[in-house]
Symmetry: C2
Subunit: 148 residues, 2 copies
């Protein structure tokens, strides 16, 4: 039995034990599962930063987001926002003016997800020094790896 099959059986057992009518067949570890595609889409630098940013700062205009998410190009920002909007995580509101004013904010699913993502951003900040130190050590050990 493969690991994939084992995992599926585990989850089916759980589902039956709890008596839930909805089978939990979705599995991000399975290559062909739709949830894997969704996960791959969300597990993206820009998407996660945008979600965190909207959660932290609240509703933002396009230009505001571009300033907040430092380094993102208009192209990538547009693209990521479209995807997030399409999946129902972000709402795009156009105020008909000249010049146009477009505001983005999080919908409920987006807020849920952002609440899970933000701690990872914070963790990364708090642990960057440690990881950089580990990296130096690793590189030092593997620099002259053909000795003795």
């Amino acid at each position: 039995m493969t690991t994939q099959e084992q995992r599926e059986q585990d989850r089916q057992s759980e589902g039956q034990g709890a008596g839930r009518g909805q089978e939990q067949a979705l599995d991000v570890f399975a290559q062909l599962c739709p949830s894997r595609a969704m996960f791959a889409e969300l597990a993206d630098k820009w998407s996660l930063l945008i979600l965190m940013c909207l959660a932290e700062l609240g509703a933002q205009r396009f230009s505001g987001l571009q300033r907040a998410v430092d380094g993102v190009s208009r192209k990538m920002l547009t693209q990521s926002l479209r995807t997030l909007e399409r999946d129902g995580l972000v709402r795009r509101t156009v105020h008909p003016q000249t010049p146009p004013r477009v505001v983005y904010d999080l919908l409920s699913p987006g807020r849920e997800l952002a609440a899970l993502v933000t701690p990872i951003g914070r963790w990364t900040e708090l642990n960057t020094e440690r990881m950089l130190a580990a990296r130096e050590e690793f590189d030092a050990l593997h620099a002259g790896a053909a000795e003795e």
Copy 2:
């Protein structure tokens, strides 16, 4: 004042208020901050799946991981594991045998991070249907977008 500068000042105020000696200068939103580079490295499909996998299944051999993280190639698996090892998140243990036996498991930082990542994987599975539905609706609305 830019959003970046505002954020930095916010955090400095927090730090001063709490009287912490270590200034929290790291910011994943800042393009040039080392933590941004770390975040970009971690915010990767394969890295996150590997972390979740090791947390869920415990220590795993290379071949075990390749089966568990369905669809990953040897190349990407090796590459991601090297990065995680280099940053001190994953430990690689070689048991000198023929054929060689290599086991990977999480170090403390890796376990910490995996604990934050796993909920995102679970959330994705639980919300995939909803996001796919939103996507259909979005696509339907924007299919004939040049009417009226």
